[in-house]
Amino acid sequence: MTNVYTKKSEDTWNAIAKSFDSTRRKPWIECIDFINNLSKESLVADIGCGNGRHLIPCAKQCKKVFGVDVSEELLKIVQKKITENNLSNVELMHSEAVNIPIKDNLVDAVLYIATMHNIPQRYRRLKSLMEINRILKKDGEAIISVWSRWQDKFRQHFIKKCLTNVNRKEFGDIDIYWRQHGLDISRFYHLYSKRELQNDIKQAGLDLIKIDGVKYFSKNYFDNYFAIVKSN
């Protein structure tokens, strides 16, 4: 039977897929820079490809792209975009980051964008990073992005959590509601500190090349971290 966390995640993203797609049109510049530096011969896996906002530009640049997502509804949206863009070098798979159905040492690069922070339980997030290390060829590179814990919007929440007993949940866990187009659906997030992201990357056996904080919505504190890592 499918894992309870996977099932919950699948249901959540299926429910908000259309609404999410209408608000997530623009790719992130950090990710486009990474894609533009890949060779035209590259095989790339986009783990948690969502609505395909990075997968489509990647398919235009690289030889082959494999898109993995837990939500069937999001995959249907991507499939439509593949047809609209007349692309024949994309293969989609309905699966998850914690158990990637791709053979060892196969891809030259991985996109792991805004996905890991939606996985409950630290051991599962760590496993997803190990999976990325496993599917990457030697010296293959991945770009990983996660939301930052101490960004302006959630800073007060986590400062309060520091001062009270957090119980059961792992520190950094938070339910964030999707309230658009008449929907009101909670999504699991684990927001990262820079140190935690660095530690998890290291523990998964990946080499950290660089890590940058960016401010998309925050005025004072980083809201996202982008890490470039290398397999070994």
Binding site: Q79, L92, H94, S95, P101, K103
Partner: protein, 56 residues
């Protein structure tokens, strides 16, 4: 999904090689079918061209 994906995909759980059974094909694209893991015997379906490889 193209047939060549057999060289790319593995069982999400045990990473074993998969065996492909085609039920419906259209211009080289597999529309309906299934995979069976040669190692752990788990089966996975292919629906509307997309393999469902969520762990069982």
């Amino acid at each position: 999904m193209k047939k060549e994906m057999l060289d790319i995909l593995c069982c999400p759980t045990c990473k074993g090689d998969l065996e492909l059974e085609i039920k419906k094909e259209d211009e080289g694209e597999i529309i309906e079918g299934s995979f069976t893991c040669k190692k752990c015997n788990c089966t996975y379906s292919i629906d509307e061209g997309i393999p469902n490889l969520l762990p069982k």
